[in-house]
């Protein structure tokens, strides 16, 4: 065991966070197009027969169908029927809909998971120590880097594609399971040894394909790739909850006071109710002062589509769509651009990933500690409930990263001595906004200077923790002591932290 630069104990055999890359920046070599046109099949069984599959292989998936995805479950059920064992799955995220994978984990069909986010029964199974190997928790940009650098080698990518044409070109913009952009599928398409598109709609021709048919080996048509209700949420709503609104208002005031709302600024925010309220406030300020944003990036919602169409935002750099309005806008608005996972957040993307051009990002936190390390991977008992997604990528890339959270949730202080698990290192986190005060990372002396005299309630982060303790009492912090069930991998491939079972 050794400690990394943020004091987290790691098992041997991994590069600790904070240590230099052994080699120079990893190479990025695109796979060659497949020599022949893709072969069209009509069942997963036929695909499995056509591919030479062995125990121990790695299958990848993307998560654009979110909690409505059928594809990972169907593919892994077929793998089980064929008696394959010791497989690693590499989906960009896992949701409650992936519950059917749990028995496969228990029976050793699946023994490894590499993903950016997991929530639901699979996450519970991993937390309980049922997966044989530690799961690897990447970031969205880090996953693209890992695939391109060969750290994550994919034998077969099974990619859910809502519409595929006769040449194998794919799009997520149309089709009965339309989900919008397919940005997270892009590295898999270009770097997996074999690529299978799983679709429920084949058309003559896709005009502006998001996925290039030249890289596809097989296209399989099945009755349904997903459950519409789980794919897009339909509506995303600004919170009316008063504490959330107060936090949002203060966050917007902080972003303004920090001087970030200048003509041509760029931003990213999540799709949570508080983030939406921050954007609503920023929008109000923009209208009042006649300001325009150059771009907004990340997961796109109806709110950003409205701002694009109102001329407030120059372009949307969209890596995934959260609602139907965002999906529809993609076809309607030329300034609504699809981007790939690597382009979005990979540290190796040249000249620079989109996140590096962000002026600010607004992020959530399950926990945050006195060093500003943020946890969005586990709950405070150490159970996996999420993962970085783009958290660590945007926090690193943006000039100012703002974390918004309630100071206390269900009697638990959210600010603490040491987070249960580090998802995003404190060196990438600049400001914390809570309903009882704002804390600025002391390394951002420039921000502290700019906020002086703003009237905002800026206090040391320790004062926020003490305030929380006054309200709730000091909690006993249980330390899981079981075996390591997951490794949190930073976007550069180094290890930030581990998750242990109880």
């Amino acid at each position: 065991m050794k400690r990394n630069s943020i004091g987290r104990e790691l098992p041997d055999g991994y590069r600790p966070y904070g240590e230099e890359h052994p080699a120079a920046a990893s190479q990025r070599i695109a796979m060659k197009p497949t020599p022949t046109a893709p072969i069209f099949l009509t069942s997963l069984s036929d695909v499995f027969s056509a591919l030479e599959l062995r125990d121990g292989m790695t299958f990848s998936f993307h998560h654009h169908l979110r909690d409505g995805d059928f594809v990972a479950n169907l593919v892994m059920a077929e793998a089980d029927r064929r008696g394959l064992r010791d497989l690693t799955i590499a989906p960009s995220s896992l949701f409650p809909c992936h519950k059917p994978l749990v028995p496969l984990i228990e029976r050793g069909v699946i023994t490894g998971i590499v993903t950016n986010y997991m929530n639901g029964p699979v996450a519970d199974a991993v937390s309980a120590g049922k997966l044989q190997k530690p799961a690897i928790m990447d970031t969205h940009g880090g996953r693209a880097r890992a695939i391109e650098a060969g750290d994550l080698s994919i034998d077969v990518a099974f990619l859910a594609v809502p519409t595929v044409d006769r040449r194998g070109n794919g799009t997520g913009r149309v089709g009965k399971s339309a989900c919008g952009v397919l940005g997270y599928a892009d590295p898999d398409l270009h770097y997996a040894k074999k690529v299978v598109f799983v679709t429920d709609e084949i058309v003559e021709r896709v005009d502006h394909p998001d996925l290039d048919g030249n890289f596809v080996d097989y296209v399989v048509l099945i009755p349904s790739i997903g459950d519409r209700a789980g794919i897009v949420s339909g509506t995303t709503r600004i919170t009316r909850e008063p504490v959330g609104l107060k936090i949002a208002r203060d966050a917007a005031a902080l972003i303004d006071a920090a001087g970030l709302l200048k003509e041509g600024f760029s931003m990213q925010t999540g799709a949570g109710g508080t983030s939406l309220a921050v954007v609503a406030d920023i929008r109000r300020i923009m209208v009042e002062r006649g300001l325009h944003a150059r771009f907004a990036s990340g997961g796109i919602t109806a709110q950003y589509v409205e701002m694009l169409e109102a001329g407030l935002v120059g372009s949307l750099r969209d890596v995934q769509d959260f609602d139907l309005d965002a999906v529809a806008s993609l076809t309607r608005n030329p300034q609504h651009e699809a981007i790939t996972a690597a382009q979005y957040g990979s540290p190796d993307f040249r000249p620079a990933p989109v996140v590096a051009g962000l002026d600010f990002v607004v992020l959530g936190a399950t926990e945050i500690d006195l060093d500003f390390n943020v946890n969005v991977t586990t709950d405070s008992e150490g159970r996996i409930i999420g993962g970085s997604g783009g958290h660590a990528d945007t926090a690193h890339g943006a000039k100012v990263s703002v974390v918004v959270t309630n100071l206390v949730k269900a009697r638990l202080p959210i600010v603490m001595e040491k987070v249960t698990c580090v998802t995003t290192p404190g060196s990438d986190v600049d400001v914390l906004v809570t309903e009882r005060g704002i804390a600025v990372n002391p390394k951002r002396a420039d921000l502290l200077d700019r906020l002086r005299g703003s009237g905002l309630n800026v206090v040391p982060i320790r004062a926020l923790m003490e305030l929380a303790h006054t309200i709730t009492g000091v909690p006993v912090r249980p330390r899981p002591s079981g075996r390591i069930v997951a490794l949190v991998r930073y976007r550069d491939g180094s290890i930030l932290d581990v998750v242990s079972s109880k």
């Binding site: 405070s380 008992e381 949730k409 269900a410 009697r411 638990l412 309200i471 709730t472 009492g473 909690p475 006993v476 912090r477 249980p478």
Partner: protein, 85 residues
Amino acid sequence: MKIGSAGTLESNDALVTVQEGVGIVVSIDSIVDAFFHDRIEAEVRGELARMKKQNVHVTIQDKGALDFTLRARVRTAIERMEGSQ
């Protein structure tokens, strides 16, 4: 059997049920049990002591109630128990 209850299962509240019994028995089911079990129990026992109760069985279903809420719910439940027949 005299019985009383107070509170709700809403966030930051607790549903407290008390009944006459031999000695004090406190059973806690809390969403923050891992972090506050001992503190919740101490708070409940403290309130019973202030009310000079020595023979009560208390059941707490806690949704993250702060100490002041726990004390209030215990006291209300006891008063209701004593007022019931």
